[in-house]
Every structure is written in C-alpha cells, then in structure tokens.
C-alpha cells in the first residue's frame, strides 16, 4: 500500500491528527515516567534488610522517675534495670532470643557516625565512611537473624555498657560486608583495626555479617544504606528497646504477654499501643508512602491508557463515518475488505508512530526535569522502548473495531448520497 495517498488524506484532518498524536505523545511521556517511578519504589520496598523478619518484634519502653543517666551511679542503676528486663524477656515461654538495641532497620531512628582507618580525625574529615550503629549484645546475631560470613559473633565477654551520652572506646565491632569491602577492598577486614567517630582508641573488627540495612529510609541515608556497624554495648538511658525473636508461630502470643510481664518486673514505666511492634508493622510503616505512591501512579496510568484508547476509538469512528462514501467508492473500484482494514490500521500506525517519537522526546525531557527537582535517576532505555511498543499496540487495538466497521461498508454506498 502506498503511503502517499494516506498522507494526503491525513492533511485534510490536520487538527484531528495532531490531537491524536499529541495525546499519544503525552500518554507515553507520563506513563513511561510513572512506571519508572513505580518500578523504583517497588525495588526499594522489596530490598531485604538482612534480618530474618518473621517472628521478630520490637519493644520500646520508658521508665518513669528512673535515675539520671548523667551520673556514673545512675548509669549502673539503669543497667541493672535493663538486665532485669532482658532476663525476664528471655525467660518468657516462646521466646528464642532477645537483644537490647537502639534501633532496627527501617525504624527511622538512627545513631550515625563515621569509621576511619586513621585515628584522631577531625569532624568533617573526608577519609571516614559514614555508618549507622546498632548498640546491642551477644544475642544480636541470633535475635536479628543475621548471617555471619567471616570472623566470630560477639560473646558475653565483649559486651559492655555505657550511659547514653558517654563516648567510651569500642574495642570490638562487627560490620556489614558492604562496609568491610569499602574499608578493606582486599578482604582482610577481620582482625583489622578501625577508629570510630574520630576517636583515637582502636576498634578491632571481629566479625562480618552479610547484610544489614541502616535504620534510616529517607533519602539522606541513600549513600550508606548498607554500612551498618554493630557495637557490643548496652546503652543505659531512661528508655530502652528490646528486639525479641520468638519460636515459629508464637509471635502473637508472646507480643501479648510482653506488656503485662514488663509491668510485673517494674510498674514504674510507660508502655503504650506503639510500644510492642512486630517487624512486619515497622516495615509497613516505613514504606507506606512508597506503596501508596506506587498504587496511585498505577491507577492513574491505567485510566490514562484507557482514556487515550477511548479517544482513538472515538476519533477514528468519526473519520470512518465521515469517509463512508469514499470507502464505498474504493470498495466499488475493487478494494478488498482487507485493504480497507489495513488502510485504517496503517493510518493509525503512522499517527501513533509520530506520536511515539514525540512522546519519547517528551518522556526523556520530563525525566531530566524530574531529576533536577526530585532526586530521581535516569530513565532506562528499556522503559522507553517497551513504552513505545505498548502505545503502538494500544493504537492498533483501539483502531481495530472502527477499522473493521469501515471494512464492512458495502460498495453500494458509493451510489447513495452521504
């Protein structure tokens, strides 16, 4: 089939053609970027934290009228209270392991600092690597379900305690593999010495865990998401957090038992509805905005595609109606039904093709604009290619019904008045 007469015919419907092409271009640009955003959100939500997330929950509690953590005496008293809690939790039926911790991945409450190969660095020194600390004890790995890939886990002898604001030396540390590889690209991390937070006191890396995400999920944590450090130290303050791993299937029962049990140990404390939280809840809360955004974008994309398809159907139907007589003439002059069908299909392909080319340019432009304003990355070519194919297929699907109706126009209509 020759394109020339088709283009000549399209010239007579300039406005309509431009509008369809524009609509396809806008749809392609918006849907490409929206799907890219959905994709990156889903990827973010699905990345594993490194924890064994099932059968894990977190208790956050505050004492009322507890001794001050600013005096040495107060720190000792707080530590006794914390160890009482830990012992009681570990004795609870259904509990497998309990570790005190200042935070968990996705909790968005972090203690961050930097580790360096050099001692006594000034704050702001560029040689350090940013990290998030988990202050915990010898049951950390079994409680969190972390996988040790080198060295050894903490033992009871490693564990110390300190006031919340003190800054004592940290002789033994466990780091994530990502952090170990960053600091020691040759793989000799275990047994090596690093210095944390610009301190002059050495810390020895005694073990490396495969993966452990930092608590922060905001964009400010993006460049050290996997650089976590475990410190074998109980923090003593007027509030504590305990991570609890239960035996399979006993999560709910243990979560219910925890609050009354802790009140029995010491009634002078506050535990509210938010104090006992399963890790599943922590995860859902951390990512609810991402999930909501993905759903919203998805729904808008679907409606957008439907509107565009409906628009193509509507406009093509009108053209078919308008050209009723011409179609009849062509049929009478010997064109087969298939020729008419192909004519409209090809016409749509032409318009959609122009729209798609324009749409690709728009999609890339929109992406570049989003990068400057919303910390987004570059749109992969694959998205654009798939999007282009998708709008061409969409156009063909939308044009099929009106085109078939056109092909069914009888040759006799050529002889009738329009």
């Amino acid at each position: 089939m020759k394109l020339h007469p088709m283009i000549a015919a399209l010239r007579r419907h300039k406005a309509g053609v431009v509008l369809i092409a524009l609509q396809i271009a806008l749809t392609l640009a918006i849907v490409c970027n929206a799907i890219f955003i959905i994709g990156s959100r889903i990827e973010r939500v699905n990345r594993p934290t490194g924890l064994d997330e099932s059968n894990l929950f977190l208790v956050t509690q505050q004492w009322v009228g507890a001794p001050s953590a600013d005096t040495a005496d107060g720190v000792e008293k707080l530590d006794v209270m914390q160890r009482e809690d830990l012992a009681a939790l570990r004795n609870l039926p259904g509990v497998e392991a309990v570790a005190p911790t200042n935070s968990l991945p996705l909790l968005n409450s972090s203690w961050t600092g930097s580790v360096s190969l050099k001692p006594d660095t000034r704050p702001g020194d560029k040689s350090g690597t940013r990290t998030a600390y988990y202050f915990t004890d010898e049951q950390a790995l079994s409680t969190m379900g972390l996988k040790l890939v080198a060295g050894r886990a903490f033992n009871a002898g490693d564990v110390r305690h300190q006031g919340f604001r003190d800054n004592p030396p940290r002789p033994a540390l466990i780091v994530t593999k990502a952090l170990a590889d960053k600091l020691f690209p040759k793989g000799n991390a275990v047994g090596s010495v690093i210095y944390s937070d610009g301190s002059g006191a050495p810390s020895t890396i005694i073990g490396v865990v495969e993966r452990l995400q930092i608590p922060a999920t905001g964009s400010w944590g993006n460049n050290f998401t996997w650089y976590s450090t475990l410190v074998p130290t109980r923090l003593d303050a007027n509030f504590t957090r305990y991570a609890v791993r239960t035996k399979p299937g006993q999560l709910d029962a243990v979560m219910r038992a925890v609050t009354p049990m802790l009140y029995k140990v010491d009634p002078m404390r506050v535990l509210d509805d938010d104090s006992v939280k399963s890790f599943a809840d922590i995860r859902a809360k951390a990512y609810r905005a991402d999930v909501g955004m993905a759903i919203l974008m998805g729904v808008i994309c679907l409606i957008l595609i439907a509107v565009t398809a409906a628009g193509i159907v509507g406009l093509t139907s009108f053209w078919v109606g308008q050209r009723h007589r011409q179609i009849g003439v062509r049929r009478a002059l010997g064109a087969r039904k298939l020729d008419i069908l192909h004519y409209f299909q090809l016409e749509n392909l032409l318009i959609a093709g122009v729209g798609a080319v324009l749409g690709v340019l728009l999609a890339i432009g929109l992406n570049l604009w989003l990068i400057t304003r919303y910390e987004m990355s570059h749109l992969p070519v694959l998205y654009v290619l798939v999007g282009t194919v998708a709008v061409l297929v969409l156009g063909q699907a939308a044009v099929f019904v009106p085109a078939r109706r056109a092909s069914n126009v009888s040759p006799v209509s050529a002889t009738r008045a329009a």
Partner: protein
C-alpha cells in the same frame, strides 16, 4: 438566545450518547484527579496562623566553626542555648520566644490512670501572646516567671479532657516527671498546621499537650526531643542533659510589625554576630537569615515531594483528558458541518455559531465538573483513609470548591474553543452544494 443554544446543545449531545459520555468522563476523571491532589497540596502548604504569620520571623545566626560537617552556606536551622538566651534578653522585638520540644511523663493523681508520656513544649512566656493561642481557661505565665523558674504549666484541651473531664482545671496540680506543677491555663483547640515553629518533631498532625517554662524544664533536666546538631567538641543526642554551646537545638521566634523593624532586626543580628566574633565565640563572618513563616516553610520544604509529584502527575493526566476532549469535540463539530452550513445560510452570524458551539462544550464541562467534584470528594475520602501524618487534613474547603468548578468549566471551554473556531470557518455555500 442562550436557552435556544442550550436546547440545541442538549439535542446534539443526546444524539451521540457514547461520545458525550466519553467526553464527560474524561473531563470528570481529569478534574477529579487534579482537584484531589491540588487540595492536598493546598492544605499542606496552608498558612498555619492566618493573619499572624506575616509578622512572625525566625532569626538564624551562624555560630559554627570551620570543621565543615554542615554543607552549604546556610546558617544552622536552630540556635544554641547561649545565643538563644542572649537574643531573648536583648529583647529587640515586640514579642520573642525561645523554645524547644520535649516529652514528659504525666503522673495522674487518680490510681485508675497509669502514668503516660505526652509531647511537651518548653518555651518562654511570649509564646502565647505572640502566636495568639486561644485559651479555654486561664492564661499563660508572665514573662517575669521565666527567670524565676516557676512551676507553672499550660495544658491543652485534650489533656484537660483526659485528666479533668474538661472541667476548669486552673489552679490544680499536675505531676510532671516527679514534680508538682500548677496549671495556669488550658488551651482551646490549637493545632497550627504545618507545625511551623518546630519542624523537627514532624510537620503535620503533631501537637503538644503540655507547655512548660523553658528555664524550669532545663532546671529539672527534662527530656529534650527533636534534633540537635553539634560541631567541634559538642556532644549531641537526646536525653536529660542539654547539649553544650556547640550544639544547636532551640527555636527562636520574634514578632516584627513593620518592614523598618525587620530591617533593624536583621541589622541587630549582624551586629550581634560581629560582637560574638570579636569576643572569640564565633569564627565565621556574620551569616544571618531572617525568614517569615512562609519563607521558612518554603526553605524547609515541608510539603512532601511525593505530594508535589502526584499533583504534577494529575495535571498531566488532566492535560491528556483535555486533548482527548478537544479531539472528540472537533470531530463532532466538523461532522455537523452541513447543519452549521444551513444555519449560516439562513443568516446566523459566525459569532452566533461560535457561541452556540461554546455553549455545547460548556455543558460538557459543567457536567464533567460536577462529576469531577464527586470524584474529588471520593479521592479525598481515600486520602483520609490512608495512613499518613496529613491524612486527617484532606478536606475540600470553599476556595477549592470554587477552583474545581472554574477549572472544570474553564478547561472545557478552552477545549471547545479550537473546535468551535474551526467549525465556524466552513463556507456555507460549499456545504450546501455537497449535499
């Protein structure tokens, strides 16, 4: 004439129901989506204190050394205790208040209630008159009480309801963190949104239930909540002792009524910085800012990026829906070329034809706008049932209602403009002949 055009429009729209429905639906969806997101954006970027926010300013100075933990040239977002107290005592503004956030245990007298923690604000006395907080009972404490470290407390109506069943509790005792306080005032519902005066504790859906004099709270070592940034040898964190003068953790607000006062205050901040530098406390050259509430909220980017993105997406969607409608209307009007030709031949002016077609597209816009309004209400209902800090705020106010309608009708008139103009260009003679 208008009634006649309306009649013609309805007849024409009825003739092709599927197409009319498609146009109405497309406009309704576009309007619904963009109004939902625009309303959320409007609510989130709303004025927290209408009528007052224009005269409230947030002074920033730069007491940091050159260790460079903070990137950029902007001064820190909060003040050290030393600077805060210096600025407060200088008293260069009509009203000024130094404050920070906290969290305190409340120990009810009645044994039926367990102790519980509430959000607290430690502030100086001017907080109440400066922000114009409404009082249900009593009032705030006096400025003189700040230095005297009186144990006075202002509570909000929610706490008053919980502890005293809503009765006038002024003069009664409240045990806060093992200390007896005298209630001097009960606030009526007061929940500025965004929580502009301290954004560290969350921008939306955050209210303090207890207000304590700053010096009293510091003296009793009550827990500080919020962010504290340190440099040099400062040690930050959250707890019972307060970070040194190398940590910023307090907010300071002033009220300045005239541009002259604002300029004078800015000058004062520069002179203060110079003076502190000559005393050896400050290292950097004076680096001051004096933002009003609106500028402060814009600088802090309180409106979540996701909300902006959603609004952009929705308007893109509306644009596609409009292009769609333009295309469909164009096809529709051009198909009626012969009918329009006859009207022209019978003496109707181009102008009359144009008006007639615009009435038709206006009807589509009106119906689509009504549908869009329903969809927007549905959309906002969905937003309210999503778990986010700002969910309860998502309501349509009269302004947005008006905007919805103007947008709907305006958009569809705009969509009808090109098709109507094109349809008016037909030559009547040609149309008559071809039939």
């Amino acid at each position: 004439m208008f009634a006649y055009y309306l009649d013609l429009a309805l007849r024409s729209l009825k003739r092709n129901k599927a197409l009319t429905a498609l146009m109405v639906l497309a406009i309704a969806l576009g309007i619904g989506a963009s109004m939902t997101t625009l309303t959320v954006l409007h609510v989130l970027s709303g004025d927290p204190l209408p009528g007052r926010s224009g005269t409230l300013y947030y002074p920033q100075i730069d007491p940091r050394d050159n260790s460079g933990l903070f990137p950029g040239k902007e001064p820190p977002e909060q003040l050290t205790l030393t600077d805060g107290q210096n600025l407060l005592r200088a008293g260069r503004a009509d009203h000024q208040a130094l404050m920070t956030g906290g969290s305190v245990p409340i120990q009810p007298d009645s044994s039926s209630l367990d102790p519980f923690y509430v959000e607290a604000r430690y502030t100086t006395a001017d907080f109440f008159p400066m922000f114009g907080t409404p009082f249900l009972y009593g009032q705030g404490w006096a400025a003189a009480d700040d230095e005297a470290r009186v144990r006075d407390v202002v509570i909000n109506s929610e706490l008053n309801q919980r502890l005293f069943a809503g009765a006038d509790s002024v003069g009664r005792t409240l045990r806060v963190a093992n200390t007896a306080f005298r209630i001097v005032g009960v606030l009526d519902n007061w929940e500025p949104s965004p929580h502009f005066y301290d954004l560290n504790t969350g921008s939306y859906g955050y209210t303090e239930q207890v207000f304590l004099p700053l010096q009293t709270a510091l003296g009793l070592h009550m827990d500080h909540n919020g962010s504290s940034d340190c440099w040099g040898n400062g040690a930050g964190g959250i707890g019972g002792t307060y970070p040194s003068e190398e940590c910023v953790w307090l907010q300071f607000w002033v009220r300045l009524d005239s541009p002259a006062q604002v300029a004078a205050y800015r000058e004062f901040l520069v002179r203060y910085s110079q003076q502190q530098k000559s005393l050896g406390r400050f290292v950097k050259a004076p680096n001051v800012r004096l933002r009003d509430v609106r500028q402060w909220l814009a600088y802090e980017r309180v409106v979540p990026n996701d909300v902006r993105l959603q609004t952009g997406l929705a308007f893109g969607f509306l644009l596609v829906c409009l292009v769609n409608t333009v295309g469909l209307m164009l096809a529709k009007f051009l198909r009626r070329a012969s009918e329009l030709g006859i009207r022209r031949a019978l003496g109707a002016s181009k102008r009359a034809l144009f008006t007639q077609l615009l009435v038709e597209s206006g009807v589509v816009g009106l119906v689509g706008g009504a549908g869009g309004l329903l969809l927007a209400l549905l959309g906002l209902w969905l937003v309210r049932h999503r778990p986010s800090d700002y969910a309860p705020l998502a309501h349509l106010d009269p302004t947005m209602l008006l905007v919805t309608f103007l947008l709907a009708v305006g958009a569809s008139l705009l969509a009808g403009l090109l098709p109507a103009w094109r349809a008016c260009q037909i030559t009547p003679a040609l149309q008559l002949k071809s039939n």
